[in-house]
């Protein structure tokens, strides 16, 4: 089948970009979307043109590398699916599509469809962890975890950090991403000691990185390839609010002894 693509081409972070029209005359319904782009890129390379840059790695929907907008929707039209797992059988001959990078202040475009999502790493570094040095852990079964809590933590932990939530949000908020980590760790007994600090620091960092606030639009949940639920954002707000009233930085005097 023939697919017509309008792709955002931008040389580097500083250059201006524009839409360029391409045709892929021989796409197969069994191809993944990225394999269809591979075919286009091979063709461009043969013609001596610059192939389209897009991020990808595992092509199994788990690494979180891939992701761009197809007709204004992150990862394209199929729910719960990253673009690497989207297959061409969902399109028909002659379809015309518009591909753009994720757009957000905190995600500067690096080239074509590739953006810099390192802000996510910095938000995790601000508090998205449990402080436990290697070697200091008690036996794995010493602390029972209610199955329901463990399952809910797993639901939140399934986030792949692709950034679709940010790209879909009219405020470019990272609330779904941040709240997924706050929920994952906050739902587990191991995560309680740092729960207040984590919420406070991660939310502050998110704002500092240039992500917007959440206004409960819900676009993020609709486009999340891993089905992360918006209830996590409610939990984040609860933790943040509680933390705002009760959390104090560590005593300057240090620990006992």
């Amino acid at each position: 089948m023939k697919i017509i693509l309008n792709i955002w081409r931008q040389r580097d972070a500083k250059s201006a970009g524009k839409m360029v029209r391409y045709e892929v005359p021989n796409a197969s319904e069994h191809m993944s979307f990225l394999e269809m782009l591979d075919v286009l890129n091979e063709e461009l390379t043969r013609k001596g043109e610059d192939p389209v840059t897009f991020e990808h790695d595992c092509r199994e929907g788990i690494c979180g590398c891939c992701g761009f907008m197809i007709d204004g929707v992150p990862h394209g039209p199929q729910r719960g699916t990253t673009v690497c797992q989207l297959h061409m059988r969902h399109y028909k001959d002659g379809d015309e599509l518009w591909l753009e990078p994720f757009r957000a202040k905190a995600f500067p475009v690096l080239k074509d469809l590739m953006v810099d999502r390192s802000a996510f790493d910095r938000v995790i570094a601000a508090g998205g962890f449990i402080s436990v040095n290697t070697g200091s852990a008690p036996d794995g079964n010493a602390l029972p975890v209610v199955k329901k809590c463990s399952d809910m933590a797993m639901d939140a932990a399934a986030c792949i950090g692709c950034g679709a939530c940010v790209a879909s949000c009219p405020n470019a908020s990272a609330s779904l991403f941040v709240s997924a980590k706050i929920s994952h760790l906050g739902l587990l007994p191991q995560g309680q000691a740092e729960r207040d600090r984590r919420a406070m620091r991660m939310v502050m960092k998110m704002t500092e990185e240039g992500f917007g606030y959440c206004t409960n639009t819900g676009e993020c949940e609709a486009v999340c390839p891993k089905g992360i639920k918006i209830e996590n954002i409610a939990r984040m707000h609860r933790d943040y609010l509680k933390s705002a009233f009760t959390y104090r930085e560590e005593s300057q005097a240090g620990g006992a002894g």
Binding site: R11, D12, S28, M31, S32, L34, E35, D38, E42, T45, R46, G48, E49, D50, T53, E55, H56, D57, C58, R59, E60, G61, I62, C63, G64, C65, Q85, L86, H87, L110, K111, R117, S118, D121, A125, A126, F129, V132, N133, T134, G135, A137, P138, D139, G140, L143, P144, V145, V146, K147, S150, D151, A153, M154, A157, A158, G161, L185, Q190, G191
Partner: protein, 568 residues
């Protein structure tokens, strides 16, 4: 050059070796640790765990990954689980049994002392991961759940749905980011290692390319750890991520590090079959599916009927027939070869007859669709997304694919290669899986090396050397950098007719046909003839568009394929 392969295995009974080694290892004074810089290349389970743990100890760590974040490393794609000799199930497991199974599963080609240590620290890995908040599956009483996996007759596998690798990697990534925040680890993302620098016989740094700006930089350290994974993409199609490559270990080999067992490649039995020439990679279906799925082919050759209309009597459950004790849970190499035999004989199903059925109808009938959905729901979804078929209704089609490379850089008991100061962790080394890796053992090995082995053995090495003393103006650094720049220039100057992928596909085809499952003298000789031809063509006729001073994905791929062509 003669290699000195002293494995430095401690004396004494196997169960006391690690205790003895740990006690005998030299220590670095806490106040001196910050004077040492350690480079870790790779941020997967082995590299991430090593960088985080060395950072916690107080060393200066520089960690490199080619992706946009350490959380993208391909460890994330591991589905099934991680083994540990906890014996929580009271079913007869022990450190010794895990050790025994791993050595036996590897056809007795693994180094026993390393494997025993691996089994020993496996229990600590689970504790560490639980404490980090890894949401392992739980029983209703709140304790950790286990399943039997990939040929094991005890239930020793811990899992987090079908995303165990992801969850372990995120635990590791969070620990790493904590050290980044603490200033103990400096993370270099979107940086690719293009050469190793050896000064006076010791590994002293690396040359990298900043994949955004194209800048070639020198990084100096007191020791270098490579945790860069396997080289399965030498076959072009594999279950590896598209970016997985051999460049780091191949460059180290060219600088004098020994390479061991390149002949041992794991072909995984349960992957989704190839659908066309444009195919860019193969997708693994966790072999945990074999716990509840039954593998069969029709008893008649070239049977193209709808599998649901083929009656029980017309099906050959060949694994159950040939291996009644293990049935569908036989080890990976056996299951893969059996599938190939069935297809070679003409019993295969699906396009080109390159597939066998993995059927869940019996277990759905016995346990109900909900139980099956709870165990494998996400895997069934992946399958349906890729093939457009619903495995709850129609049996899955599977075929073996390249999955893991047991071979890698040779290391001694301390994970040090033949170059002093160069340590190799995880899939990149050769030591723990022999000729065949058991299911759920890769995650175990990566984390064992990173969390519990390298923090000791690195200290032992550094305690014997003075920190610093070399900088990037040293001749070896300048020379290596020059070489990398020349090579990049050369790749860009050819501007031939074939794309990098064209040539990579050609290499992959030769590798799969001649050096895959079932090898013959004739096939290997053919490969020995063809590969140098492809290599020659590559350096004459490859077309790498663009320049070296920008983000250039074709150039990145070209460099990797050039190394695959030498390794192949």
């Amino acid at each position: 050059m003669a290699l000195n392969l002293d494995a430095k295995i401690p004396s004494g009974p196997v169960e006391q070796k690690w205790q003895k080694a740990k006690f005998e290892m030299k220590l670095v004074n806490p106040a001196n640790k910050r004077k040492y810089t350690v480079i870790v290349v790779g941020s997967g389970l082995a590299g991430g765990a090593a960088a985080a743990s060395l950072g916690e100890l107080g060393y200066n760590v520089k960690c490199f990954c080619f992706q946009d974040s350490p959380r993208r490393a391909h460890s994330i794609a591991a589905q099934g689980g991680i083994n540990a000799a906890k014996n929580y199930q009271n079913d007869g497991d022990s450190v010794y049994r895990l050790f025994y199974d791993t050595v036996k599963g590897g056809d007795f080609r693994a180094r026993e002392a390393n494997v025993y240590r691996l089994a020993e620290v496996s229990v600590d890995i689970i504790d560490q991961c639980v404490a980090q908040g890894v949401p392992f599956a739980r029983e209703y009483g709140g304790v950790l759940a286990n399943r039997s996996f990939g040929g094991a007759q005890v239930s020793r596998t811990f899992y987090a749905r079908g995303q165990t690798g992801q969850q372990l990697l995120l635990g590791c990534y969070q620990a790493l980011e904590r050290q980044v925040d603490a200033g103990r680890v400096k993370m270099f993302y979107r940086h690719e290692m293009l050469d190793l620098v050896v000064v006076d016989g010791r590994a002293r740094g690396i040359i990298t390319r900043d994949m955004v700006t194209g800048a070639i930089d020198c990084h100096v350290a007191d020791a270098v750890c490579l945790a860069t994974g396997g080289y399965g993409n030498v076959f072009y199609l594999s279950t590896n991520a598209k970016g997985s490559n051999a460049t780091a270990i191949w460059r180290a080999y060219k600088k004098g590090a020994g390479f061991a067992n390149p002949c041992f490649t794991q072909i995984h039995p349960t992957c989704i079959p190839q659908s066309g020439d444009y195919q860019s990679k193969l997708t693994l279906m966790s072999e945990s599916l074999r716990n509840d799925g039954r593998i069969w082919v029709p008893k008649t050759k070239n049977d193209t009927r709808d599998p649901n209309t083929i009656t029980e009597g017309e099906r050959d459950y060949y694994l159950e027939r040939r291996y009644p004790a293990f049935g569908n849970l036989c080890p990976r190499d056996i299951a893969s070869r059996a599938a190939k035999v069935a297809c070679d004989e003409g019993y295969g199903v699906g396009p080109g007859g390159r597939g066998v059925y993995l059927d869940f109808s019996e277990s759905i009938g016995r346990l109900g669709q909900n139980t099956i959905a709870e165990r494998y729901g996400n895997l069934f979804e992946i399958y349906e997304r890729i093939t457009g078929e619903d495995p709850y209704k129609t049996p899955m089609r599977i075929y073996p694919a390249v999955h893991y490379t047991m071979g890698g850089l040779w290391v001694d008991y301390n994970l040090q290669s033949t170059i002093p100061g160069l340590f190799v962790l995880g899939e990149a080394n050769f030591s723990d899986h022999g000729a065949n890796r058991l299911g759920a053992s890769a995650l175990m090995q990566g984390l064992a090396d990173g969390y519990f082995v390298i923090p000791y053995t690195m200290g032992n090495y550094l305690a014997g050397v003075k920190p610093g003393g070399v900088d990037e103006t040293h001749g070896e650094f300048r020379g290596a950098r020059e070489e990398v720049e020349q090579r990049t220039k050369k790749l860009l100057s050819i501007k031939g007719k074939k794309t990098v992928d064209d040539l990579h596909r050609e290499l992959g085809k030769v590798m799969w046909e001649d050096c895959g499952m079932g090898r013959t003298a004739q096939g290997l000789e053919h490969a020995l003839e063809r590969i140098p031809e492809i290599r020659e063509e590559f350096w004459k006729n490859v077309n790498v568009p663009g320049s070296g001073t920008e983000l250039n994905q074709s150039l990145e791929r070209a460099g990797r394929v050039a190394d695959f062509l030498e390794l192949g």
